[in-house]
Amino acid sequence: MTQQTVKVKNSIVDDGIEAGLARLTPERIESVIQRVLNREAGARLKTYARTCVHCGLCSDACHHFVSMNRDPKLSPAGKVKRTIGVMMQKKGKVSTDFIREAAMVAYSECNLCKKCVLYCPFGIDVGYLMTLVRRICHLLGVVPRYMQDTAHSQSVHFNQMWINGDEWVDTLFWQEEEARDEVPDIRIPVDKEGADIFYSVIGPEPKFRAQLIYQAAVIFEAAGSDWTMPGSPGWDNSDLCMFSGDNEMMGRIKRAHFEAAAKLRVKKIVMGECGHAFRSVYDVGNRWLGFKMPPIPVIHAVDFYHDLVCNGKIRIAKKFAQPITLHDPCNIARGMGLYEKARELAHALCDTVVEMTPNREHNICCNAGGGIINCGPPFKDKRVEANSVKAKQLFDAKAMGAEVVIAPCHNCHGGLEDIIHHYGVEMELKFFGDIIYEVMEKPE
């Protein structure tokens, strides 16, 4: 009966979460929560819990809260109260219904975007606290099914799309062949030892957007870069284990990625236009492995393209004519401060750049990030509805003339695409790579 009411309230039933809940015992819940609260978490959890003055000033930061009629339960501190707050208070003695609710909150009502840090006077990092809740859910085996499936793929193949070793290299050869129609001598150098640049992408690129690899190859060629891509696991820089709470597996994936680069003795890792992958390599995964900074310098595509375009390493034939607006992905804006470089790059490539408001480190999240999009179809409507403010922000930019949204992140693309569709915003979405490829002087 209780189960029934909860299901109706959330109206989302996730098979993975339900299956996990069915296996739980009160002792197991308590011991896992105790383990995370007392042994894995430390200064930040305790200090944040003690410091929060319940002022609610963080509320306006969160797109979930603002979009959902200012529901107090969705404010950052409200989410803490509903999850880890109770776990701490009850010392882990909580019910399975509570765990279901906590998993829903942590996996589908917070993108770990850390915007609330900029609004809370104390800089309380609710994203971090929700990561801890996810850690607990993972250890309890209560993870949304689609997300867990992706995590399984990463455990088996070290990529998130169940791509076999030969399929990966095949895709690279296929894209090389395609590109040769345009640039006859172009190569996608696989496993080239001693190259300057190790280029890594996320699993969905070879699976769904292989032309991005082709475009990148043309850009590298035009810039005369000495680059390579690895032929064996370690090529996928994405990381859903980081989001599911499987820190152990996250560490192994990151290690494979760094080791693939180290084996090829490259000078630096350049990664495609993905935000969460950057977070996993630069912020979370490296920390887990004990590196304060990544052991090999990691450069996000926006940073890399900025250098190529703004320092004249590739030439622009004719600037992009349609007015664009720029969406700052949280993982490279609040994660790496790339907002100014992204703007310089946009201005160098496009005739007209319209600012959406708020922007830069205050931009509104796409509501796909933090792995929410990877929770799959059951959560799609929820994530789109819980971000009506984003639609409004896009409509405003459109009213000012913008026709194209540049979003240098795969997750953002997924999220924004759904929002644009659902709310009928009718704007086009592009990566920087798309624009550069379109406006650059192509190599002969």
Partner: protein, 220 residues
Amino acid sequence: MTLQTLYAIIAGPLAVLAITGFVLGCVYRIVMAVRQTASDRMVIEYFHPRYALRSIFRWLTPYATVNMRRHPIMTLVTFIFHLGMVVMPFFIFAHMLMVYEAFGLSWPTLPDVFVEWMSWAVLLALVFFLGRRLILPEVRYLTTPSDYLILFMVALPFFTGIWAYKGWWAAEWVTLLHMLSGEVLLVAIPFTRLGHMVLFFMTRGYMGSEFGGIRHARDW
């Protein structure tokens, strides 16, 4: 017990006890927070004095952050309240006099009229905070009974302070209550949410470091 002996106890050993409790409590809070970094090593690794101070100063400057500008009245009230609560007590003539009588130390103080007005402002600020807790749904949802108790505990020394200064009914007794409630408040700081007074510098300092030093982004 006569008024005099009570006064002697409250102004003497109890005051010493309260101040000691406050100082030791704060030290304990800081030591505990630092010790807990044993299982959260990045906090120390990422700590960066320059960025920590950058963030702390930013958040101590009125209207210097986006969210402060979004809530202009709340910001105004908060700053006046904190000045009245944290800074003003040091510059009240009667307070200075007690230190002077005990240790012979003296320093310039604020005019009494100003202190009275500031105290009223602090009380009004508390009413404002209470109103927020009762009216704004997102704040009411977070509020626990202890939050109301804290508002009351902070109000008491200011209310009794004005009462005693004005010499209203039974002012001598209210003076004792004023001192006692101030002492209770002092000890309560490190052991309740009022501990944000010290922890602010740690949480904000850490976030400033992480944003400035690692994320190369502003945290305001």
